[in-house]
Amino acid sequence: MTNASISALSARIGAVSTTEFRGDTRVIIGKEQLLDAMQLLKDDRGFDLLVDVTCVDYLNYRDAKNRFGLAYLLANTATNERLTVRVLLDEPHLSVPSMVPLWAGANWLEREVFDMFGIRFEGHPDLRRILMPEEFTAFPLRKDYPLQGRGERHNFQRIARAEA
């Protein structure tokens, strides 16, 4: 079932590298072919559900060659087939095409990845921060951001008893 999806992908965009772990298949795709491949997976292979879009920062990770690894988790609700599509990114080219035209549910998922990792999704209709305050400047899930922040949480006005 999954092999058929991978051979369909290979026929469209050329040979793709895959890995497998405990029955889950992952496909690594270049970001230039991402939109084409996703279109094929949705229209021809029936992946009608985008479960999640998330990202991993591989800074200082052993044997890692790329800084960021995007992960798109796809599911076919008719056949229960599942597939993970991965895109590896490096600074300064942190942008990929948005999946909102294919799955409307990608809207908030991509906003979260943008908020936490600073990866831009080209063609997203409303790419704003979703979790952090709008005036926040950093991307807090990057590994080079300190756990306790850079003082943002202390940067508020203090209201004394006599004032209010």
Binding site: P133, L147, H154, F156, A162
Partner: protein
């Protein structure tokens, strides 16, 4: 002025003489209207405090108001994210005087285990707090003890003008008392109505 024995006999039995501040404090402390600012699991424990088993109504604090304009006791129950803090401050400013604040649980008081970029490390860095409750989450008995402690504090320190909240105005009041004669300013002329006959 000492009360003479003759004056004592003149008072009926059901008359009580007290201070105005003490009377106001007594009214205020026994009818605290809490605003539950519940953001996490402490809020669940606070609901138990309000429910029948622990019954905070025994201490006059059962009228939970979700509008800051109708409440005089803010109970911050749970962690406060830095995105939430401007909201908390706004709500605190919308409450009318006199008002008090209880910081319930480890997270509201210190940030608790959430020592990360998104969580405020104790609300007392940004708004005034009267009573802190330790615990994660505190037992309902602790919440009730905090309310009783706050009642004590109000009875001890409260004034009818609320000047106990304001160190500057307290000093001003002290100065004014020293400057003024006992029965008001000497130049003060009370307004007179022509329809009321003057002696």
């Amino acid at each position: 002025m000492a009360v003479t024995a003759a004056q004592q006999r003149a008072l009926p039995e059901n008359v009580v003489v007290t201070q105005l501040d003490a009377l106001a404090n007594w009214c205020r402390k026994n009818s605290l209207w809490p605003l539950p600012f519940a953001t996490a699991c402490c809020g669940i424990e606070f609901m138990a405090t309000g429910a029948s088993k622990y019954d905070i109504a025994r201490f006059g604090a059962e009228a939970m108001r979700f509008s800051p304009r109708q409440a005089d006791l803010m109970i911050v129950a749970g962690r406060v994210a830095m995105k939430m803090l401007p909201v908390l401050q706004r709500i605190w400013q919308q409450m009318h005087e006199p008002k008090w604040c209880i910081s319930m649980g480890a997270c509201a008081s210190t940030g608790g285990v959430f020592d990360n970029y998104a969580v405020v490390q104790g609300i007392d860095r940004f708004i005034p707090v009267d009573i802190y409750i330790p615990g994660c989450p505190p037992r309902p008995e602790q919440v009730i003890q905090a309310v009783v402690d706050l009642q004590d504090k109000i009875q001890r320190e409260g004034t009818i003008q609320g000047s106990e909240f304001d160190v500057a105005s307290r000093q001003q009041k002290k100065r004014a008392l020293q400057e003024l004669p006992l029965y008001g300013r000497a130049t003060f002329v009370p307004p007179q109505s022509p329809t009321v006959p003057t002696p």
